[in-house]
Amino acid sequence: MQFWEITLKLLEGLQTTTLIFILTLVMALPLGLIISFGSMSKFKPLAFVTKVFVWIIRGVPLMLQIFVVFYVPGFFGWTFLDRFPSVIVAFVINYACYFSEIYRGGIESIPKGQYEAGQVLGMKKSEVFFKVILMQVVKRILPPMSNEVITLVKDTALARVIMVVELLKAAENYAAYGIIWPMFYTAVFYLIYVGILTLLFGFFEKKLSYYKI
């Protein structure tokens, strides 16, 4: 019976894990695109500031960033963000910066001729981007994106550093009672999670394989 009880408890933790995962993706994917436009901006000061920001976020452990979001506002007497929102804020900013670099690489890899072809056909800049460039970028960035998204699944475990009970923390809680095996049991959950994502990305890549860039 204990096995099923613990499995249910871990599934509760998995809910939190999934919530962090989905909220991060939903917000970081578009935010990353905006940041990538910033770092590619022809307005040099904006490009510089954006690049420094990305350097800081990518250069500091995500765990530390979670601490910063959760604790630092308190130093200034501001109200704390709750634990869970703190995790989301830290994750969204962190992942948006990684995504922005993937987007930038993808966008810059599209040949200039594609823009020019659109332009001489009388298309507007926004039309060229959304109708011609974007789909090619999506195809290019799918493999690095799948990497990042899989990493995100496992990074959710960092939420436990400020006592957000996600999958791993749910298992760890049993260790206090001398029950250690649930911690290792979580690997099964992560592996299934990542397995499904791998299949999903494989499906998308196949869907886009009808053309070559």
């Binding site: 040949p111 001729g113 594609q114 020019e116 072809a117 659109g118 332009q119 001489v120 056909l121 009388g122 298309m123 039309e127 109708k131 011609v132 789909m135 090619q136 195809k139 009808y210 053309y211 070559k212 860039i213």
Partner: protein
């Protein structure tokens, strides 16, 4: 004034003056070929005329109107590297831009959905016709990666024609093709010339330039070093031109 009139077109990249004041004129329905060595400014000239580069000075007139001020009068450009949109089929490559313009027009003038549908049908019909013109009707639903280089270039010619250009420009349209395939593209261009399409062609195919052109311009070092009818240019005693041409006769 000629149909296409270019006066004193200038362009520098940094301290390098690539175009040192180009004057050109072309009548409606005529074909002009531009020949000359690499780095002579041929491609830059075409890019300036198609607003891909901003010229530093000079004027471009088309049918009596300044190029910047021209509304309906358009130029078309066929690239050396085709630049087809890889994620679209042949027919979609042709119809994408015109459909966007049609949609915009219908929206702006607040016309009904049936008007848009009729516009789209007309665009599709024109695309089918142009595909037939370049001999690729059976490839309408193929993606660019499924076509040979010559076929891709013919699609890109049809795509440029979709916009009803007053002048169609070609930037070395066969330089990326192997010699065997070159012929099929040149044939299409010749057919367009027979249909009185006004065209400006940068090319290294000397025999083709001689046969298809009403006028040939030899560019060297950012200036027009020689110009005239094909026979005049090919028999010119301009030393630099003779040196250039002799390279092609091996």
């Amino acid at each position: 004034m000629a149909f296409l009139q270019i006066n004193g077109l200038k362009k520098s990249f940094g301290s390098v003056e690539v175009l040192k004041g180009i004057d050109l004129s072309l009548e409606k329905g005529q074909v002009l070929s531009i020949i000359g060595p690499s780095g002579s400014g041929k491609t830059t000239l075409l890019r300036c005329l198609n607003n891909l580069e901003e010229a530093d000075g000079g004027e471009v007139w088309i049918d009596g109107q300044r190029r910047e001020l021209v509304g309906g009068k358009t130029f078309g450009l066929v690239f050396q590297s085709f630049n087809l949109f890889p994620q679209y089929t042949t027919i979609e490559n042709l119809t994408l831009a015109p459909k966007l313009r049609a949609k915009e027009k219908v929206k702006k003038q607040k016309l009904g959905h049936d008007v848009l549908k009729a516009e789209y049908e007309a665009i599709n019909k024109r695309a089918e016709e142009l595909l037939a013109t370049v001999g690729l009707s059976e490839k309408r639903d193929f993606y660019p990666c499924q076509l040979s280089g010559g076929q891709q270039q013919r699609v890109s010619i049809a795509r440029a024609l979709m916009m009803h250009p007053d002048v169609l420009f070609f930037d070395e349209p066969t330089s990326a093709l192997d010699p065997e395939i070159t012929g099929e593209v040149l044939k299409v261009i010749k057919e367009l010339a027979a249909l009185d399409m006004t065209m400006v062609i940068i090319t290294h195919e000397m025999k083709f330039a001689h046969d298809v052109s009403d006028k040939i311009v030899f560019m060297d070092g950012g200036v027009i070093a020689a110009e005239g009818s094909p026979d005049e240019v090919f028999s010119s005693d301009n030393e630099r031109l003779q040196e250039f041409l002799s390279a092609f006769n091996g």
